[in-house]
Symmetry: C2
Subunit: 358 residues, 2 copies
């Protein structure tokens, strides 16, 4: 191993800690600086992770030549300016999911990333879970046969705990509530597994949360392959994380205990994948290797900065996942009528992005 890749977390909340712990589980990454507007938080973070220095301003962090890349966990609606500035300063950029709060911002980020030529990664880590990888293998090698139905749900009780002091409360900062925060994971997972989504039908409801955003969202997606997918995302119940695939040859059912999500190195220990073959009602447990989705994605990003890895989830995938979320919100406003994903991408000035994708 060469010298470690030097990264700096930006936005030092709970999620920055999850990711910094993940980076610390390997020997690829060194955290050399960090930045938050809040000095107290900045100092505390620096101490907690033994980081050599912290920057008093974002501009100063970006002027630091020793920093090769930034790990962004600021609120969704700040992604565009924070990312654009980092790219302009020549840094590699990892941003947490979703890529942005609006498709307009996402498309602008994709363009900036493409033009910069810098390493750019979006934190759709869930596709790296051992169960996701195994489901993908079953699809690719034909063990599932032709998949016609795919169902996914990601829910937790966070919508019941929101306050106006948190950005997730506000519709203009995080439109879509449970769907942009949780459902977007499955918008990526299902497209990873089954290819691009053509159109989205959805109903989004604000039922039990006090916040401005929906806490109960159900959507049906149609894949370009013709298969149908369902994504449920609730914010008013105990945690759920499931993916079910139904193929002509077999079914797969994946179930993960969400409470261990943050400790990605243990996530596989609390997940199960069951298969059920054609004509065989009995379920079999599919053995899963152990993975560490957060560490893996960060190390891939870090190595890509040095040209030693290819980023799996970049701007195109980030735009595509977010576009499903916004197509769902538009569909809900249209009483459920299906909205083409291309429509929301193009309306956001993303024709070029859509072409690159196709």
């Amino acid at each position: 191993m060469n010298e470690r890749v030097r990264l700096a977390p930006v936005g030092l909340g709970r999620w920055a800690r999850v990711l910094s712990r993940a980076a610390g589980r390997g020997d690829v990454i060194e955290l050399v600086s960090c930045y938050s507007r809040d000095e107290t938080r900045r100092r505390a973070f620096q101490d907690e992770f033994g980081i050599a220095r912290s920057a008093p301003s974002y501009q100063e962090l970006l002027r630091d030549d020793s920093v090769e890349g930034v790990v962004i966990t600021t609120p969704n609606d700040t992604h565009l300016p924070v990312i654009a500035e980092a790219l302009a300063a020549g840094k590699g950029v990892y941003t947490d999911k979703p890529i942005a709060h609006t498709v307009e911002d996402a498309v602008a980020i994709a363009k900036a990333a493409g033009e910069s030529g810098r390493a750019f990664a979006v934190g759709h880590a869930a596709r790296r879970l051992a169960g996701s990888r195994e489901m993908k293998r079953w699809i690719d090698d034909g063990r599932l046969g032709a998949v016609s139905l795919a169902e996914a749900n990601f829910s937790n009780e966070r919508g019941l705990e929101l306050t106006p002091q948190t950005w997730r409360w506000h519709a203009d900062r995080s439109p879509g509530g449970s769907f942009i925060q949780l459902g977007v994971h499955h918008a990526d997972n299902l497209q990873y597994l089954l290819g691009p989504v053509r159109s989205v039908t959805a109903h989004a409801r604000r039922l039990h949360t006090e916040a401005e955003v929906p806490d109960a969202v159900m959507s049906i997606v149609e894949f370009e392959s013709g298969a149908l997918g369902y994504i449920g995302a609730g914010w008013a119940s105990p945690g759920v994380y499931t993916v079910n695939l139904q193929g002509t040859e077999a079914n797969l059912r994946y179930d993960l205990d969400f409470t261990h999500w943050d400790e990605a190195q243990h996530a596989d220990d609390y997940s199960t994948l069951h298969s059920q073959g054609s004509g065989e009602p009995e379920r079999s447990v599919v053995e899963l290797p152990r993975t560490d989705m957060f560490r893996e994605q960060l190390e891939e990003f870090a190595l890509a900065i040095r040209g030693d890895a290819t980023i799996e989830v970049g701007a195109a995938e980030g735009v595509r996942a977010l576009a499903v979320v916004h197509a769902a919100l538009t569909s809900s406003q249209r009483n459920g009528a299906a909205v083409p994903v291309a429509e929301v991408v193009e309306a956001a000035g993303g024709a070029a992005v859509a072409e690159v994708r196709a």
Copy 2:
């Protein structure tokens, strides 16, 4: 116990055997005659179940004063004439689900049943599964809190086995394919659990079946309570039967091994109900009593003929479940736009039925 209630199966295929075996597990019902147009089939059925006689014509069966009620398992599109004739002859009528193939026929059946004053039951047996009953108790006594999302799936591989010789192949005889045959069970279950559905959004696709009908259907229902429900029904994969409820206080997950469906007295042995409390990621197994859904519904029907029981699932419930199916098919034709259940009932001349219901 008084003298057994004297019933006669009409339409002597696979399902008539399932129901006749169920009746034979108790001492409430005596099968005294039977009818099928096919004489060979009629004789074989008579022999198999030791039935005293069989009728050479349906009219003759209905003239038989010893027959108190008929158990109808003829194709969906024959229900209206077969039921109407039996009611006119003064017989009680049990019909298998769906109540009919069209809402028009369903509404006509509901009117005929109401006007006749005879016992009339529809075979939506799944709500009698121990798991369904237990979920209903959790909702009613508040253990789930407020339910925001409910997901159900009923699928099997029958769509891959259909031939033009079977009525289920034909769109005019069984519109909706997997949704009218399998999904309709959950259209009843979810309304049993969470109250009436207000509107339905759906996409129905013909993907892998050779038949004329869809084999992949996903729908989102909105309950009058505001909660959202999902029903998936596929006909091109190994069997699935699941119901998941997400409430503010707890989740419930019900999973039944469909291959034991026909032997209802064993269905509970092959089903599991898990609960997950608020703040408790771990799942607990909920113990289920043993039931026999097919026997129970037939005995209830039989006793109702004598005035000794009240029918739980009658015409109103049958119409309501079928209306969800047809609202789904209409929605799919409208690119997913939500269709009010009341619209399809009223379009079918069912205003009176809707009023009775409301």
